[in-house]
């Protein structure tokens, strides 16, 4: 459903809703994540996944990666609003296509009897996984891949005793030599 931008756009034409990944470069200061997250909740946008870490130790810049869903115009509006936040330096939005690299990390713990563990390992071996911890009754496997690949691994492992799943949400980076330029104060 298209997002109504005003109380008066009752019969607005429906725009296509798509998944977008937003990358926000911010000053790593106290409260900055609440500013970003609060902007999303306050304006009725959805955060599906969120990944944050400092990427520039000298300048204290953090990179926030957010997966959201919306029409193109909603995404443009989110970007424009994000750029108004004082600690935000620049914002990029990506669609999921072959122009960028997407990676997500997952840890999966399997607990079970010998038979199930063996079956589970067989599945894990068919993916590019790594074993991080193995005991007689359990193991933890790591997969660093696309979302759909991780979804597939988890789905296949489900019958053999998946006890715990941890996922980071995706990170994204544009392919080639392009990087995002400072875009504060620009029309998007």
């Amino acid at each position: 459903m298209s997002k109504s931008l005003s109380a008066y756009s009752v019969e607005n034409k429906k725009e296509k809703t798509e998944k977008h990944i937003m990358v926000v470069w911010v000053d790593n200061e106290s409260g900055v994540l609440t500013r970003v997250a609060g902007l999303f909740s306050g304006r009725g946008y959805n955060i599906e996944t969120l990944a944050v870490a400092q990427v520039d130790d000298a300048k204290h810049i953090s990179r926030i990666t957010i997966t959201t869903e919306g029409t193109n115009s909603v995404v443009d509006q989110i970007k424009a609003q994000l750029l108004k936040l004082i600690p935000v330096h620049k914002v990029a939005s990506f669609q999921i296509n072959n122009k960028s690299i997407l990676r997500e990390l997952a840890l999966v713990k399997i607990i079970g009897n010998k038979k199930n563990l063996e079956k589970a390992k067989k599945i894990c071996n068919s993916f590019k996984t790594e074993y991080l911890d193995t005991t007689k009754s359990s193991f933890i496997v790591e997969l660093n891949s696309t979302r759909s690949e991780i979804d597939r691994l988890i789905k296949e492992l489900k019958p053999y005793g998946v006890a715990s799943i941890a996922r980071t949400g995706p990170l994204i980076m544009s392919k080639g030599s392009e990087i995002t330029q400072i875009n504060k104060g620009k029309i998007l």
């Binding site: 008066y8 009752v10 106290s30 609060g38 306050g42 108004k84 004082i86 620009k186």
Partner: protein, 588 residues
């Protein structure tokens, strides 16, 4: 070694550096070090309000009428939470405020200490930016930054939360000139290409309209002059939002009156039928657009705004220029003059048909009302107030509701910064404290708060502030004993179910004025109105003017919920054949 100053001293140093004349505030435990320091700074006058919300709106009134940032000091906990409405109000209407709040000492933060609250957490969505200063070393720069952010770009409120222990600690002061050097430049480059394209559209337009907003006023006097110049060069009709009134003279023939929900018939129809819309510093607010998908369907739209997030937020536009309205207009005018030197002469003919059409709409006289000889009509009261005050430099504030719309319709503003009203947030109780700030910024001028009897009671206590500082503000109450706009909506949209909109036990406003040490005047019929208004104007003291008006008068014309600009209701006789739909009913 350089001299070290305490946090409290630094606060006042910064205020002095930024030429602050007034602070509006209320003391409390967490700001006592600041109040100790106050006495050493004779240039800064503290205005003691009766409620922190009053301080916020008074600072807004000061800022809105002077163009300078309003400064507020409040204590922690309830002091800060009472400021939230005023901060939100300033945020919605882009008014520069700097609020300094006290906080419990750093070692008590997070312990649910007495009068502790998460002030920066609470005010994050209603400020442009806010800070909790935990380290004294950060304080000077943050305070300078606060003023910079509040006043640059699209202005807005900021808040600096200072724990009590930080107010005592010492550090080296940083001067304003030093601090400014390290702030990023906010000036954006104006897109020359877009200006050229816009000039072409202006040249070709057959049915143009200028739609100006609060951004013109915020940009300053120069921008208002340029808007007038732009209108004169082009000969285009101009309409204004509620917030923009006064940027263009309201009594000029090219001015079509306010547009939007309670705008004039000619302004709204011109917006609907135009082929070129030039939005200068307005934001396509829902009070303006009415139904989005029927909004000005045949026009090319141009948007000039300082805030990039305003572009294409609600209405997709064909051309946009981000920048200060004054600077953009300046460029646009010089391009127009260079590109089309004979435009001024040739243009009159090409838009003459359009003016004919507009004059036909004007003939409808959508602001017409009939004043009988017994009961006062609210429109008449405001019209008389206008006639009796128009020859002096008068400043009008309002509360929120019917009286506010009537004031916007019948009071014609000829200068900017003479009209201070809560537009975006629609805060009842705004007008009285705002009038206090306006009077301080404009001593000797006539300041009138056009109020409703319901709104005024929301911040009535501030009359005591006005009396204390001998501020002769006039509170002109349009008293119909109803929350008039609520009553009107209940009549039109809720089957005349007047649920809780009538006030049963109103105070005697004349006696109330006297109790506060002000003057009370009451008018009940048209014959005595003029004389009593004159008595109010001539009074050297604050006045409450209790104007008893017809109880069930509705504010027309009106675009009903969910309708378009060309579907206005002009008066009571018309509303039956313009039924409001189910979808319309859910809108506010």
């Amino acid at each position: 070694m350089t001299q070290q100053l305490t946090g409290a001293q630094i606060v006042f140093k910064v205020l002095e550096d930024h030429n602050v004349e007034y602070i509006f505030g209320y003391p409390g435990g967490a700001v006592l070090p600041l109040y100790d320091e106050l006495i050493h700074h004779k240039k800064i006058k503290h205005i003691l309000v009766r409620h922190e919300q009053g301080a916020g709106h008074a600072a807004e009134g000061y800022a809105r009428s002077s163009g300078k940032p309003g400064v507020v000091i409040v204590t922690s906990g309830p002091g800060a939470t009472n400021m939230v409405t005023a901060l939100t109000d300033a945020y919605m209407d882009s008014i520069p405020l700097v609020c300094i709040s006290g906080q419990v000492p750093t070692h008590l933060i997070g312990t649910d200490a007495f009068q502790e609250c998460d002030t920066t957490g609470i005010t994050r969505p209603c400020t442009k930016h806010n800070w909790l200063v935990k380290d004294i070393k950060d304080l000077p720069l943050i305070l300078h930054k606060a003023f910079h952010i509040a006043t640059s770009g699209r202005p807005g409120p900021v808040l600096v939360d200072i724990p009590k222990d930080v107010q005592f600690q010492k550090t080296k002061y940083i001067k304003k000139e030093q601090a400014i050097k390290i702030f990023p430049k906010t000036d954006v480059k104006i897109e020359e290409n877009e200006i050229q394209k816009i000039a072409e559209l202006i040249f070709k337009a057959k049915k143009p309209i200028i739609y100006s907003g609060g951004g013109v006023i915020n940009s300053g006097e120069k921008a208002c002059q340029l808007t007038q110049e732009f209108a004169k060069i082009t000969g285009f009709p101009i309409t204004s939002t509620l917030q923009g009134l006064g940027a263009y003279p309201g009594d000029d023939n090219q001015f079509l009156g306010m547009l939007g929900m309670h705008g004039t018939y000619e302004a709204n129809n011109a917006m609907h039928d135009c082929d070129l819309m030039i939005n200068i510093g307005a934001r396509f607010d829902d009070r303006i657009t009415g139904k989005i998908d029927k909004f000005s369907p045949k026009s090319k739209k141009i948007h000039i705004d300082i805030d990039p997030s305003s572009i294409n937020k609600i209405i997709k536009v064909d051309h946009a220029v981000v920048g200060d309205v004054g600077k953009v207009l300046n460029k646009l005018i010089s391009v127009l003059n260079k590109k089309y030197p004979n435009f001024k002469k040739s243009n009159k003919a090409s838009i003459s048909k359009w003016w004919e059409q507009i004059n036909k709409w004007r003939e409808k006289d959508s602001l017409f009302f009939e004043q009988g000889n017994k009961i006062l009509k609210p429109q008449y009261a405001i019209k008389r107030l206008y006639e009796l005050t128009k020859n002096r430099d008068t400043f009008i504030t309002t509360e929120v509701g019917q009286h506010q719309m009537w004031a916007a319709q019948y009071y014609k503003f000829t200068k900017p910064k003479r009209w201070m009203t809560s537009g975006g947030l629609g805060t009842m109780g705004f007008g009285l404290p705002a009038a206090i700030g306006v009077q301080l910024a404009n001593p000797g001028k006539l300041v009138v708060d056009i109020a409703g009897e319901a709104s005024i009671l929301m911040n009535m206590q501030e009359l005591s502030t006005a009396v204390q500082y001998r501020l002769p503000i006039k509170i002109f109450i349009i008293n119909n004993q109803y929350m008039g706009m609520v009553r009107q909506w209940q009549e039109l949209l809720h089957d005349k179910n007047y649920s809780q909109s009538y006030t049963e036990a109103l105070p005697d406003f004349v006696k109330l004025a006297e109790a506060y040490g002000a003057i009370g005047i009451r008018a009940t019929n048209p014959d005595e109105l003029d004389e009593k208004i004159k008595e109010m104007i001539d009074s050297p003291k604050p006045v409450i003017f209790d104007c008893i008006v017809k109880q069930n008068e509705n504010c027309f014309p009106m675009i009903p919920s969910g309708k378009a600009h060309n579907e206005m209701i002009l008066g009571p006789s018309e509303k039956k054949d313009n039924k409001i739909t189910k979808e319309g009913k859910v809108l506010v």
